[in-house]
C-alpha cells in the first residue's frame, strides 16, 4: 500500500528512490516457536524525512536494523524488494553490504552511554569510521574529525577529541555519535530513537543539529521513535506501526485526518491544554490490529 508517487522526489525529477522496501519480514527462532517481529512492511523513501512511530515491540527498531543489515545472526529476513538506490540489499555479498554501512547508509543509536566504545577515545572512534571507508593520512583524518565535531556544535573539539565517552554528558555523547556516523557523508540516515535517552532540554539541541545536518547535506532520514508528536513535527511523512505491521501512513500535515483507530488512540493520549482532561483516554487495543 504505497501512497504518493515513489519515483518522484522533492525536485520533481524521476530517479531510483533512495530506499524501496516491499513486504519486509523479520523472523526470530525462539525456544517456543518462531516470532515475527516485522510482518510485511512496505514503503519508499526519497530525499525526505520519514518517521516510524510505534510502541515497544511494534517492530520499528527491527525494521531499521534489517535495512542496515544489523539484525542478530540467527534471524530470517525476507522481502519482495529491499533496494537502496536500485541495488538489492538482500542478495548483495556481505562485504559489499558492509561497505555501504557507514559510507552510504548510516545509523545512530539510542544511548551514547552504551553505544560508544568505552575504552577508546572519542577522536579515535570517529577516525576509525573515516579510515574504514577512505584513504586518509593520520593528520588529515584528525582535521576532518575536528571539523565534524565543530559541525555538531561541540565547542573546544580539540579537547573533546582526547576524552573518553564516559567523560562527556549524554547530549554531547549523542552529538559525538552523530559526528561518528555522518563523517563519511552518507545519503541515508536511520535514527533509532536518537533522543529517547536524553533530557528534554538537551533533546531539542540534538534535534536542531540533526535537522541542520540532514537539510544541509540533502540526506534521506528515517526517524524511529515512540513519540508521535516529536516525529510529526520533525518529519514529512509518518508510518505508524503496531505488532509488526504498518497500520497507517500519512503526511505529517495530515495527522489530524488519521483514520486508523490505533493512530487516533495515540493522538488522543496527548492531552491538549485547555480541553477537558477527565477521564484521560486510554488506548483500547483491539485484537484485530495484530492480525
Amino acid at each position: 500500500m504505497m501512497m504518493g508517487n515513489p519515483s518522484v522526489n522533492m525536485t520533481g525529477t524521476t530517479e531510483a528512490p533512495l530506499l524501496a522496501v516491499d513486504d519486509l519480514r523479520v523472523t526470530f527462532p525462539t525456544r517456543t516457536g518462531e516470532v515475527t517481529a516485522v510482518r510485511g512492511v512496505s514503503f519508499t523513501l526519497g530525499k525526505e524525512r520519514l518517521g516510524i512511530v510505534g510502541e515497544s515491540g511494534s517492530g520499528k527498531s527491527q525494521t531499521g536494523r534489517a535495512i542496515m543489515g544489523l539484525t542478530a545472526g540467527h534471524a530470517k529476513i525476507t522481502a519482495n524488494k529491499l533496494e537502496f538506490r536500485g541495488r538489492d540489499l538482500l542478495s548483495m555479498p556481505k562485504s559489499e553490504r558492509r561497505h555501504i554501512r557507514g559510507k552510504q547508509i548510516a545509523m545512530i543509536l539510542q544511548d551514547p552511554k552504551y553505544s560508544l566504545n568505552p575504552v577508546m577515545t572519542i577522536g579515535r572512534q570517529i577516525v576509525e569510521t573515516l579510515k574504514t571507508h577512505e584513504k586518509v593520512s593520520g593528520a588529515q583524518a584528525k582535521e576532518r574529525v575536528i571539523a565534524m565535531l565543530e559541525a555538531v556544535q561541540i565547542r573546544d573539539p580539540g579537547r573533546v577529541y582526547d576524552l573518553y565517552p564516559h567523560e562527556v554528558s549524554g547530549g554531547m555523547g549523542q552529538r559525538v555519535m552523530i559526528a561518528m556516523m555522518l563523517i563519511c557523508g552518507p545519503e541515508l540516515l536511520i535514527a533509532d530513537e536518537p533522543t529517547s535517552a536524553l533530557d528534554v532540554t538537551v533533546q531539542l539541541d540534538v534535534l536542531d543539529i540533526l535537522d541542520k545536518l540532514v537539510s544541509e547535506r540533502g540526506m534521506g532520514l528515517i526517524f524511529v521513535s515512540h513519540d508521535l508528536r516529536l516525529v510529526s513535527s520533525f518529519c514529512d511523512r509518518v508510518l505508524v506501526m503496531y505488532a509488526g505491521r504498518v497500520v497507517e501512513e500519512l503526511a505529517s500535515a495530515d495527522l489530524s485526518k488519521a483514520s486508523h483507530p490505533y493512530t487516533l488512540g495515540l493522538l488522543n493520549c496527548l492531552p491538549t491544554i485547555g480541553s477537558n482532561r477527565h477521564p484521560l483516554p486510554v488506548l483500547d487495543r483491539k485484537p484485530e490490529w495484530s492480525l
Partner: protein, 354 residues
C-alpha cells in the same frame, strides 16, 4: 551551551584527586592487615594446633634436652600473645626458623627453591594465556558450534582431572615410552654443576649466556610440567574469555561498530576483546596465583626443585618450620598477586582511571 559539559566534568575530576591519597592509604592498610592475618593463621597452625609444637618441630625421636632447648627458643612458656609478637618480629626480619632436614634457615632454603616455581608458573601462565584467550574468543564468536563445544569440553576436563594423575600419565607417555622429554628435575646432571645461574631463573640465564645446549636441555625438562600447568591455566582462561567475550559482543557499541561498517575481525579483536581485556588481565593474574597451588603436586611428580616440592618433602619429614614457612610465603605471594591484579584493573579501565 556546550562548554559547561566539558568544564563541569574536569572540575569533578579535580575534586577527586585527594581521594587517590585516601585510596592508597586504604590499600596499604588492607594489605597490612591481610599479611598480619596470614601470620596469625600460620602461627595458629604451628603453635596452637599441635599438642606439643616443640615435638612437632624436632620430631618425636629427638632427645629430651633438644626438645627442651627448642621449647625455650620458641618461648613456649610465654603467654600466647607474647609468642605471637615474637613471631611477627621474626617474620618481618625473614626469620622463619631453621629447617630440621637441611639445618639451614628456612628462608635461605625458600629463596633457593622459589625461582624454580616462578619459572614453572610463568611458563604455564604464558601457555595458558597464549592458547586460552584465542580459544575463548573462538568459542564466543562461534557460539553453539562444534568448535564451541570442543573448547568447553577441554575446559571441563581441565576442571575435573586430578593434576598429579595427568602428570604421571603424561610422564609415562612422553618420557618413558616416547623419550621426547627429559626427567627428572630442571636440568640434566651433566650440566648441573657446570652451569651457573645468576638470577635463579635458569632459562633466562642460559639464554643470556648463549649456552644453547643448556637451553635445549632446560627446555626438554620444563616443557612437560609447563604444558601440564598450561593446560589447567588454559581451561580456566578460555572459559573466562568466552564468558567475557559473550558479554561484550552483546553490547550496543558492537552494533554501532557494525553500523560504522567495520569488519567483523576488527570488531572482535579491537573492540570486544579490548573491552574484555580489562577483567581478563585480572583473570590471568589470578590464574598465575592458582598455578602456584597447582605446582605443589606437579613439582612432586616431576621432581621439580621448587617451593612445592620443598613443602611436600618437608611434610614427609615432619619439618614443621619448613612447611609453615613455605605456606606463609605462598600465602603472601597469593595476596600480593591479588592486590596487584586489583591495581591492574584500576589502571586499565579508563572509567576508573580518570
Amino acid at each position: 551551551m556546550t562548554l559547561p559539559d566539558v568544564t563541569t566534568v574536569t572540575r569533578r575530576n579535580r575534586r577527586r584527586a585527594p581521594s587517590i591519597v585516601k585510596g592508597t592509604l586504604r590499600f596499604l592498610i588492607t594489605a597490612a592487615t591481610t599479611f598480619l592475618g596470614l601470620l596469625a593463621v600460620t602461627f595458629f597452625i604451628g603453635r596452637v594446633v599441635p599438642i606439643d609444637p616443640a615435638l612437632a618441630i624436632v620430631g618425636d625421636r629427638a632427645p629430651a634436652h633438644v626438645v627442651e632447648r627448642v621449647r625455650e627458643e620458641l618461648g613456649l612458656n610465654l603467654p600466647l600473645y607474647h609468642q605471637f609478637w615474637i613471631y611477627i618480629k621474626q617474620a618481618l626480619t625473614g626469620d622463619f626458623g631453621t629447617s630440621v632436614l637441611t639445618t639451614n634457615p628456612v628462608m635461605t632454603d625458600i629463596a633457593r627453591v622459589f625461582p624454580a616455581t616462578i619459572e614453572l608458573a610463568t611458563i604455564g601462565t604464558l601457555i595458558g594465556a597464549v592458547i586460552g584467550v584465542p580459544l575463548g574468543v573462538l568459542a564466543a564468536v562461534k557460539r553453539g558450534s562444534i568448535a564451541d563445544q570442543i573448547v568447553r569440553i577441554i575446559g571441563l576436563i581441565g576442571y575435573s582431572v586430578p593434576i598429579f594423575w595427568l602428570g604421571l600419565l603424561s610422564l609415562v607417555v612422553f618420557y618413558a615410552k616416547l623419550r621426547w622429554v627429559a626427567y627428572p628435575g630442571r636440568i640434566d646432571i651433566a650440566y648441573e654443576y657446570t652451569f651457573t645461574s645468576v638470577t635463579g631463573f635458569f632459562l633466562v640465564d642460559a639464554i643470556w649466556q648463549g649456552e644453547w645446549e643448556v637451553v635445549w636441555d632446560l627446555f626438554r625438562h620444563i616443557i612437560l610440567p609447563g604444558c601440564l600447568l598450561g593446560y589447567f591455566s588454559l581451561a580456566y582462561i578460555s572459559r573466562m574469555t568466552r564468558s567475557f567475550m559473550l558479554t561484550e559482543l552483546s553490547q550496543e557499541y558492537v552494533v554501532a561498530a557494525r553500523a560504522k561498517g567495520l569488519s567483523e575481525t576488527r570488531i572482535i579483536w579491537f573492540h570486544a576483546l579490548r573491552n574484555a581485556a580489562v577483567p581478563l588481565i585480572t583473570v590471568i593474574a589470578l590464574s598465575y596465583a592458582g598455578l602456584l597451588e597447582g605446582s605443589v603436586l606437579t613439582e612432586t611428580i616431576f621432581s621439580w626443585p621448587g617451593l612445592g616440592l620443598y613443602i611436600t618433602n618437608s611434610l614427609q619429614n615432619a619439618d614443621m618450620n619448613a612447611v609453615l614457612g613455605g605456606t606463609l610465603v605462598i600465602g603472601m605471594v597469593f595476596v600480593a598477586i591479588n592486590l596487584f591484579s586489583d591495581l591492574l584493573y584500576r589502571t586499565l579501565d579508563p572509567r576508573t582511571r580518570r
